[in-house]
């Protein structure tokens, strides 16, 4: 039981009859909920965790096959929620974790009664055959994946420890790197492939829980059309168009995010 909680570096805080589970997206860890999650601690049991491969999760538990599809991540979520005896909880998922939450809810419908999907996208790549606009062409996603393979941006944070010889002086590496969102480059590449090549449009219709779609203004990763698509396909959902810009309203506009979730709940 505690194994799965350790693996995901689970933090439980707050108190309440219901539990809220916050799931981070690609590129970050549970830190990204630091200005949103505390706002619910007075009414809910609040659960924060890192996906396997991110943050302080157990990297050795990363399985290229299991974590080669969002279903695998969803199984992780189901396992850790069951370890916490969750029923009729609230799932708050950002970015790719919004869809991971939908898949988890379909695997174990008893877990969540409410779903908050922040910047969700069931498919990032446009699908001209069905007139679906995901926001990216297939070539652009390939460019991203190629880019990750030649990860210059990650160089300074991921490679610095190697160049400095992190075995000898780990404290030096710690000073040099940006302290959040550090990931193993291999796992980051794998997660990016899994995320940006996913297509879970057909999973939306089967969601039993009621859902809130939080859509930012000018979100490069999940454009407004995608948010509207998700809202249209979910059986029982609300769509909130936020003032916040970018892809991370939980960081750029935490108050607005909290208010929107509050209103939904």
């Amino acid at each position: 039981m505690s194994d799965v909680l350790d693996r995901h570096h689970v933090h439980v805080s707050g108190h309440g009859a219901r539990t809220m589970v916050f799931a981070h997206g690609f590129g970050c860890d549970q830190n990204m909920w630091r200005w949103v999650a505390p706002a619910f601690e007075d009414r809910f049991r609040v659960v924060l965790f890192d996906h396997i491969g991110a943050g302080r999760s157990d990297l050795s538990a990363f399985d290229h096959e299991r974590h080669g599809s969002l279903e695998g991540y969803a199984q992780d979520v189901v396992a850790l929620c069951r370890a916490l005896d969750l029923r009729d909880g609230v799932f708050v998922g950002h970015s790719v974790s919004a869809m991971i939450g939908v898949l988890a809810a379909r695997q174990a419908p008893e877990l969540f009664a409410d779903m908050v999907l922040v910047g969700p996208s069931p498919r990032y790549i446009d699908d001209p055959a069905t007139d679906y606009v995901g926001g990216f062409s297939a070539e652009q996603i390939e460019e991203l994946l190629d880019f990750l393979d030649n990860n210059h941006m990650g160089w300074s944070q991921n490679m610095a420890p190697v160049i400095m010889g992190n075995g000898d002086r780990p404290e030096l590496a710690e000073e040099l790197t940006n302290s959040f969102c550090r990931t193993d480059p291999d796992i980051a590449r794998h997660f990016a492939r899994t995320t940006f090549r996913s297509d879970n449009r057909d999973d939306l219709a089967g969601l039993a829980a009621r859902a809130l779609v939080l859509q930012c203004t000018d979100d490069v990763i999940a454009p407004e059309s995608v948010g509207r698509y998700v809202h249209a396909r979910l059986p029982d959902s609300q769509l909130v168009l936020m003032q916040a810009t970018g892809h991370c309203p939980n960081l750029s506009a935490p108050a607005e995010t909290v208010a929107a979730i509050d209103a939904f709940l």
Partner: protein, 564 residues
């Protein structure tokens, strides 16, 4: 800019505004600021020059819009959150898009100014060109990738090599097993001749016994029950001997892996003597000399027997006219000086020596040097595969021992097998010794019967005596000649063609006829490898009774030979 500086103007302030503006616009790094919504409100000339645009063209855009698609995604998912959480990020490697579509590799630092409640007030970003650094990083990445690939390749290669070596070893082992078995079958082939001869003798004994019983039942003589009893005992003994022989042959032929065990070489040699004697034929005398206090040797018993059979076969072929084969066992110490002269790695120390010596034609230097090569043979086509000595060599080396040949053309050959001494004396495998040896039966009448096979001799004597003949019996040529010298009244020499002791039946007959030119001779033979077929015919006054024979046939042929 700390506001305290701005609020204390100095005399130089009026001119320094231009200087500060110049410093901003033409600083050796790109610089931009953005408002709370992330939109650029000011960018310096250096940056706009690098990007090939007018500074005004940057105003109103968000920083991520300056990035190619991949950078944009990475910025939104990694660095924008980082900036919000840390308030800054440093040395982030990005590409900026230029007006003409090309990109500029840069390093970006960013600082957020926040209000008291944590909201973004403004954003400041510095941009350093990083073309050389990027190239260097790319080289490092490539080098690392090559190193990884090489490591993987090496690992794969090592793995493949290990697999291949294992496969080769298995194949080789399989081939060695097959070679060993074929060497053994070769030896079996050699043994079969001798054994067939023996078998015919035994069948003759058994058939004779049955015939005696039949005759006694039809026309009982004096004390028929006692005669029948003797005949039954004789037949049973013959059958039991045949069974023992078959069992030995089958044991020898059995396919089994090498199992080095402590063995008593002397007992093994004694146990094998019977089979060896069959292989050698009767014209070669076999002598075994067991060394006193012999150490146990560590070797595979079956392979040692195989080696001894191979050596015996070679010795036999080296002595077509007969001779002597001596197998001696003794303890041996090989000292440093000796092992230094041995080409193969061989530790100095205690060994058990088995020396196999013949009195044959020997080998010259050329043959000696090639003796251990597989398929090297001095024998005629069809007479040997040339694998015999190579088996001996392979076996000795595999046992951790050593083999050496001493040979003198015209005098003979000694092959010395040195097997490692077994220091664990707990269990010495005992090879069941072959008991019984021929003893000379004695008699005195007109037929001189020379037969090395005890049972057969007894049977033949009984048959002839029963028919009223006076029978003189001799187990070999020497005894036969002695009787011929002593007894003037011998009418018929009835002799086995194959005899022990170096003189065969034909030579015995020639010798006897030298003194008694008219002596009648009847040969018998079950198997005589070359003796009978050597010139294909028998001289006048000589006849051949093939084995196995019945008492009736014996009586008829003896009568006919005497009446001729």
């Amino acid at each position: 800019m700390p506001s305290s500086e701005a609020s204390t103007p100095t005399p130089a302030t009026s001119t320094s505004n231009d200087q500060l503006l110049d410093l901003f616009e033409h600083a050796p790094c790109g610089y931009l600021t953005a408002g709370p919504d992330g939109r650029i409100d000011r960018a310096n000339r250096t940056l706009s020059d690098w990007l090939g645009v007018e500074p005004g063209q940057l105003v109103g855009r968000r920083f991520p819009e300056l990035l190619p698609i991949a950078g944009k995604i990475y910025y939104e998912t990694h660095f924008a959150p980082l900036l919000r959480m840390q308030g800054a990020f440093d040395e982030v490697a990005l590409d900026l898009r230029r007006g003409d579509g090309t990109v500029v590799p840069v390093l970006v630092n960013a600082r957020e100014r926040r209000s008291a409640d944590g909201r973004t007030v403004s954003l400041r970003i510095t941009v350093m060109r990083a073309r050389d650094r990027r190239r260097y990083e790319q080289e490092l990445l490539d080098a690392r990738r090559r190193a990884d690939a090489a490591t993987a390749e090496l690992r794969e290669l090592t793995h493949t090599l290990e697999t291949r070596v294992a496969e080769e070893l298995t194949q080789r082992q399989e081939a060695e097993n097959q070679l060993r078995q074929s060497q053994k079958m070769e030896a079996i082939g050699q043994l079969t001749g001798g054994v067939a001869h023996d078998f015919n003798n035994l069948l003759t004994v058994i058939l004779g016994g049955l015939e005696t019983i039949e005759r006694q039942l039809a026309t009982p003589g004096k004390d028929p029950l006692a005669r029948i009893g003797r005949a039954v005992a004789m037949a049973r003994q013959g059958a039991l001997r045949a069974a023992t022989l078959t069992a030995r042959l089958l044991a020898f032929a059995r396919r089994q892996p090498l199992q080095p065990k402590p063995i008593d070489a002397s007992r093994l040699v004694t146990g094998l003597a019977d089979l060896l004697q069959r292989t050698l034929g009767a014209t070669i005398a076999l002598e075994t000399v067991a060394g006193a206090g012999l150490w146990p040797a560590l070797a595979d018993a079956g392979e040692l027997e195989n080696a001894l059979v191979n050596l015996a076969v070679n010795a036999r072929d080296a002595m077509p006219e007969g001779g002597r084969l001596t197998i001696e066992t003794s303890n041996a110490c090989l000292d440093e000086d000796y092992v230094a002269g041995v080409p193969e790695p061989l530790p100095a120390g205690h060994y058990v020596l088995i020396a196999v010596s013949d009195t044959g034609c020997g080998m010259d230097q050329v043959a000696l040097q090639k003796a251990f090569e597989p398929f090297f043979t001095t024998k005629d086509v069809g007479k040997g595969t040339g694998l015999g000595l190579s088996q001996v060599y392979g076996f000795t080396r595999q046992s951790g021992g050593h083999v050496r040949i001493y040979s003198e053309p015209g005098h003979g050959t000694t092959v010395k097998l040195y097997l490692p001494r077994c220091l664990d004396t707990r269990c010495v495998d005992t090879v069941a010794p072959q008991p019984e040896n021929q003893a000379s039966p004695r008699g005195s009448e007109t037929v001189l019967l020379v037969e090395d096979h005890e049972d057969l001799l007894a049977y033949s004597v009984a048959v002839l005596r029963e028919l009223g003949y006076r029978v003189l019996a001799a187990p070999d040529a020497a005894a036969g000649l002695a009787l011929l010298g002593r007894e003037p009244e011998i009418d018929l020499l009835f002799t086995d063609m194959v005899l022990p002791g170096g003189v065969d039946g034909r030579q015995l007959a020639e010798e006897a006829r030298r003194d008694r030119p008219g002596l009648k001779v009847l040969f018998t033979s079950g198997y005589a490898r070359n003796a009978i077929l050597r010139n294909g015919r028998l001289e006048t006054g000589m006849d051949l009774l093939p084995k196995p024979f019945t008492g009736e046939a014996l009586a008829a042929r003896v009568r006919a030979a005497l009446d001729r």
